[in-house]
């Protein structure tokens, strides 16, 4: 009522000519309506939005790759793509909206720098984007395809699984699309809900012939993406979108590669092995600190990095040492990649296990909107799982 009165009193200030009736964008109407009263400057609890479930922990500055520059995740991606376009004249980048810089700004500046024949928009069609990428790779180009969200990769599933993955095998190595790399934003982002939060790595882990890679940070992302691009097999590179701006590190300006299929031990420990990838690594690092502080438990934290083909040796060696394994991912637990790791580890390390292998994952539901804080495998759930394993 009062709001309505305020609205009507403000009307005198609005230009009432036809051209300014602008119900659309750029009108001050909405902002005016929502301006709080002078006395009220903090929001009620239902107006606040939830803070992130982790704190990004940057790695030490790498010194072996030359001069570094402060970059966030999307800038480190841009840097990798820039290096690639500079050194490989056959390299092309394409997908929806990449020309103006991309919805996550990963391709900003590249079209101006390298030309519109090398950085270009495609029609809105994921099966076309991947199919086109396969064909370009078959013809010898370095094809870097962007899928706008991993949630939308499924129309391209046939092209990826039936075509890209099998091209070399079925042709007896006459043809291949090894110079294809597919990039897609991945994982929870706080409000993404069903279709802007998915982690589909498990679907692709079941497909021999492709590689699936997920970085945890800007330095990792640039090195792993450059490895994927150089790799002579079609690769899918999932980029944790929640880290695009939140993760900032000193990243080398020159190109460098981080080898695929080599899991990285981030922190050594003796009591429990914690395995994760992408955003969840930062959760695990906090869990390891909590376990040490509150339970006196020493955790070995491993970033798997490459989901397919995955580094069984490093994981198994660690579990032989610690006797306990916790694997955590946002994707739903049933058929998630933790199941594959768990199955292999129990085969290889059965007698070394002190407790059943623990998986702390998303529930078997679609990714919910408002229930995200309850859905995600947060540090408290992981902490509780460690307690159970220690006390088994």
């Amino acid at each position: 009522m009062a709001a309505a009165a305020r609205f009507f009193s403000r009307r005198a200030n609005f230009k009432l000519s036809l051209s300014a009736v602008g119900i659309g964008a750029h009108s001050s109407f909405g902002a005016a309506l929502l301006k709080p009263s002078p006395n009220c400057n903090s929001r009620t609890k239902t107006q606040r939005r939830h803070a992130a479930h982790f704190t990004f922990q940057p790695d030490p500055v790498p010194t072996q790759y030359g001069p570094t520059q402060k970059m966030n995740l999307f800038q480190s991606i841009t840097s990798a793509l820039d290096n690639t376009l500079a050194s490989d004249p056959t390299a092309v980048i394409f997908g929806e909206d990449v020309a103006f810089g991309g919805v996550f700004r990963c391709t900003v500046g590249l079209r101006d720098k390298y030309g519109k024949d090398r950085v270009f928009n495609t029609p809105l069609c994921e099966q076309g984007i991947v199919g086109f990428g396969i064909g370009a790779a078959v013809a010898g180009a370095t094809a870097i395809a962007e899928i706008q969200f991993a949630d939308y990769i499924y129309p391209a599933f046939d092209q990826i699984v039936n075509e890209a993955a099998k091209y070399r095998y079925r042709s007896g190595n006459l043809f291949d699309c090894g110079s294809l790399t597919i990039r897609a934003p991945w994982g929870c982002v706080g409000h993404g809900s069903l279709y802007h939060s998915q982690s589909p790595e498990a679907f692709f882990a079941h497909c021999p012939g492709i590689k699936v890679v997920i970085p945890r940070s800007p330095v990792q992302a640039k090195g792993l993406l450059l490895s994927c691009i150089a790799d002579k097999n079609p690769c899918i590179f999932f980029e944790p979108k929640i880290l695009y701006r939140a993760a900032v590190e000193q990243v080398p300006e020159e190109p460098y590669i981080i080898p695929l299929s080599q899991a990285e031990i981030l922190q050594e420990g003796s009591d429990v092995t914690l395995v994760a990838w992408g955003t969840q690594i930062h959760v695990m690092k906090e869990v390891a600190a909590m376990a040490q502080e509150k339970l006196g438990v020493s955790c070995e934290v491993i970033d798997l990095q490459t989901i397919l083909p995955w580094d069984t040796e490093t994981i198994c060696k660690s579990v032989v040492k610690t006797g306990r394994l916790l694997i955590s991912h946002e994707a739903p637990i049933t058929g998630g990649f933790a199941a594959e790791i768990s199955s292999t580890v129990q085969e290889e390390c059965f007698l070394n296990l002190e407790a059943p292998i623990s998986r702390v994952c998303g529930y078997d539901t679609p990714f919910p909107h408002i229930f995200e804080p309850f859905y995600i495998p947060d540090k408290w759930k992981c902490f509780e799982a460690i307690k159970k394993m220690i006390n088994y």
């Binding site: 069609c125 076309g128 007896g172 012939g209 083909p309």
Partner: protein
């Protein structure tokens, strides 16, 4: 040339269809609409003082009369042909006037393919190979188009284009090796018969999923455009595969990204048992081209010269102008879909016989040749004897050859052997050593580890 006049004809047909809707005032406006392929729309500066549409999405006029565009399927896009069913040239200026040597080469390839088809089909019936697909009735589409291309042009096929590979020189031994999956197969025995491929002959290995090759062809053509080496891509597919989402993707991408590419649709009337009346309601595949902004033509697929002329012109312009072309070659699938199909379950023997006897690409070309004194009964008899002999000899060689080393089960999944696959390979080796009498090792090249 042919494409443009056919476009004009189609444009005129639209006008004709519009006239049929009892001459309304709007008809005069309608003739300026639809199917006119204009240059890429340039965005004009916005000026609402003019009574012209300003929408970025379409360059068109306003119309004040409600009328739906009539899809024209009664008298659709006309079918370009050079010879009549008796092999006589209809319009002499369209005769490509190919040399006797070239025409004889067409004929011999088509008949050799036919002979190979008969023998391999029969061999499947006898349990000697696992599966086969014949090309009966469509030999004209293969030879006419293949001959119009350069040897460096890249070919993406569906599965009924063996004549293209044959024309390019793929030896009988390698056709047979692939069908028998023996140790000579370039594909290392991994795929079902007729999934041929050849790097040297620029023929991308066939895969079973339909229409996946259309967007791939667009990507390959784009890469070739950037290389600037005067290479084109041709992409074959059937009218059934044209219903797949990938077909829409391929056509749209090739047009928007300006790719030097020929889409060649073999419309042979059936997708296994599904007739065209159940595959689409519009005017076939050619009518879809203009929807993508693509130059399109429909040709008589059983007329080798029509196929040749259309493909030649499309290839020339695709490379010169960096735009895709759509050729719909009308033909008929005389054979069954494959050895797993018995088409008498869904079509009459009379229908099949009509095409076999009255409108066959091989017969029509033969009439053309005999009319010029280029081919006699004696030539026919001795050629048939010779081709049958060479096919049978290749067949017997292929049949005797061992299968590839079982180790090849594990290679080429990735470019490199991975630790995981190495373990599995080791595991199979140990298992077979222990249970060797239960595995058909005598059929395979020595199982080397």
């Amino acid at each position: 040339m042919a494409a443009v006049s056919s476009m004009r004809k189609m444009y005129g047909l639209c006008f004709h269809a519009v006239r049929q809707t009892a001459g309304r005032k709007a008809s005069r406006l309608l003739q300026h609409r639809a199917f006119r392929v204009t240059a890429v729309h340039q965005q004009q500066p916005f000026d609402s003082s003019l009574e012209k549409p300003q929408f970025p999405g379409a360059s068109a006029e306003f119309v004040d009369h409600l009328e739906f565009i009539q899809p024209n399927v009664i008298s659709g896009i006309p079918i370009y042909r050079v010879m009549d069913r008796q092999g006589k040239i209809v319009n002499p200026s369209e005769d490509p006037q190919l040399s006797k040597e070239t025409v004889l080469n067409f004929y011999q390839n088509m008949t050799l393919l036919n002979t190979m088809d008969r023998i391999l089909y029969e061999s499947q019936r006898q349990g000697r190979i696992s599966f086969y697909m014949t090309n009966y009735g469509e030999e004209g589409t293969h030879l006419g188009s293949a001959a119009a291309l350069d040897p460096h042009d890249l070919v993406f096929g569906q599965y009924r284009e063996a004549g293209v590979l044959m024309y390019r020189g793929f030896p009988l031994d390698l056709f047979m090796a692939q069908c028998y999956a023996n140790a000579d197969d370039l594909g290392k025995g991994r795929q079902m018969p007729v999934h041929y491929g050849s790097r040297d002959l620029n023929f991308v290995t066939i895969s079973s999923p339909l229409a996946t090759q259309l967007p791939q062809a667009a990507g390959a053509a784009y890469a070739m455009k950037r290389e600037n080496l005067n290479r084109a891509v041709i992409c074959y597919f059937g009218e059934g595969a044209a219903s797949e989402g990938d077909a829409h993707a391929g056509l749209n991408f090739s047009a928007t990204l300006e790719c030097p590419l020929i889409f060649f649709c073999r419309n042979n009337g059936y997708a296994i048992s599904t007739p065209t009346s159940e595959q689409y309601r519009g005017d076939g595949i050619a009518a879809r081209g203009p929807g993508y902004g693509m130059l399109s033509i429909r040709v008589d697929g059983n007329d080798v010269f029509a196929v040749y002329n259309a493909t030649k012109e499309a290839r020339r312009r695709a490379v010169a102008e960096n735009q895709p072309f759509l050729i719909e070659a009308m033909t008929y699938r005389i054979g069954h879909h494959s050895t797993s199909d018995d088409s008498s379950a869904y079509r009459s023997v009379d229908e099949v016989n009509y095409w076999d006897k009255q409108d066959h690409p091989i017969s029509r070309l033969r009439h053309y040749m005999t009319a010029r004194g280029w081919w006699s009964e004696d030539d026919e008899r001795s050629w048939r004897k010779q081709s049958r002999k060479t096919v049978m000899e290749a067949f017997e060689r292929a049949e005797k050859r061992l299968k590839p080393n079982p180790e090849l089960l594990f290679t080429d999944v990735y470019q490199e052997m991975t630790p995981n696959l190495d373990k599995q390979r080791e595991s199979l080796w140990r298992h077979v050593q222990q249970y060797k009498e239960h595995y058909p090792l005598d059929l395979y090249d020595k199982y080397q580890h």
